[in-house]
């Protein structure tokens, strides 16, 4: 369990604008010198581990090949990583929520990303449509309305004609093939934020193409 340091000035600034006593106590303890800080880090790690285990429990059905020990290792690793992230970003805590809620999100994120990566470990990430049949408009169905059929046809054309190759790959992987964005970010050596920006721009182009409001 590694830790990071936080400047006293930054902590004074944060605690000055934050009214919740429990959160203020967390911040004071985590910025205290010596054993008090170590004790606070240990308590925070316990809290993060509970959050990580909560997330693992919610998602374990998606990973039937993993054993109980694997899940707990993953939860512990998530709590470790979340603690490091929190201590490094402690001076960004604005007090808009309770400290525990703010801290939980780091543990949940670490666990969710690790679980999504594990679920796709060893799997090929499809960047091309597994099938274009979903856009096919020549298979009339009584449940398929003409309006949706026409829109799907236009979208199929738009994906081919108005998107850049990179936008097309990202849109197909994320929106059609349901590849998790963290997994795709790893494979393409980029970030979640950058990929979502690409997806957003692609969607915007397609909305213009089909005449929908942007």
């Amino acid at each position: 369990m590694s830790t990071a340091t936080v400047s006293v000035e930054a902590m004074e600034e944060v605690t000055a604008v934050f009214a919740d006593e429990d959160s203020e106590a967390w911040l004071a303890a985590l910025s205290a010198p010596g054993p008090a800080r170590e004790a606070a880090c240990s308590r925070l790690h316990d809290l993060l581990l509970r959050a990580a285990r909560f997330e693992v429990k919610r998602r374990r059905a998606s990973l039937p090949h993993l054993r109980g020990d694997d899940f707990d290792d993953l939860a512990v690793q998530s709590a470790d990583d979340a603690l490091v992230a929190i201590l490094a970003k402690l001076d960004t805590f604005r007090g808009d929520s309770r400290f525990t809620t703010w801290a939980y999100k780091f543990a949940l994120l670490e666990a969710a990303v690790k679980l999504r990566r594990r679920a796709w470990q060893g799997r090929e990430v499809p960047l091309e449509p597994e099938t274009w049949n979903v856009f096919a408009t020549d298979n009339p169905s009584p449940e398929r309305r003409a309006e949706e059929s026409e829109l799907l046809r236009e979208l199929r054309v738009g994906i081919d004609e108005v998107l850049s190759p990179h936008q097309r790959e990202v849109l197909v992987a994320l929106a059609l093939n349901e590849v998790p964005i963290d997994v795709l970010a790893d494979r393409l050596n980029t970030t979640r934020g950058a990929l979502y920006k690409t997806l957003h721009d692609a969607r915007k182009k397609l909305r213009v193409h089909v005449g929908s409001e942007v």
């Binding site: 919740d20 997330e55 969710a112 398929r144 994320l174 979640r192 979502y196």
Partner: protein, 78 residues
């Protein structure tokens, strides 16, 4: 495909209407947004664009669902 499947596909491809937050901003605001939701306040009014982003980004949507479930199950909102 059924009409519902068509609509789901169209929504996945076109994404949410209107302005939305980025993933980074979503993560920054997630704790505040969840506490506001759990307290019954109008979270979207305080964090405009969050709802649209959660509709358009499956990963952030999952993170939001998890935090809301965890906080809701362990503590009462402030």
């Amino acid at each position: 495909m059924t009409m519902n499947e068509d609509r789901k596909l169209i929504k996945a491809v076109l994404g949410p209407e209107g302005p939305e937050l980025t993933c980074e901003r979503c993560f920054e605001e997630l704790d505040r947004y969840v506490e506001l939701e759990l307290s019954g306040a109008d979270a979207e009014a305080t964090v405009p664009g969050m709802r649209a982003h959660l509709e358009g980004c499956p990963a952030c949507h999952e993170d939001h669902e998890s935090l809301k479930a965890l906080v809701g199950s362990t503590e009462k909102p402030a």
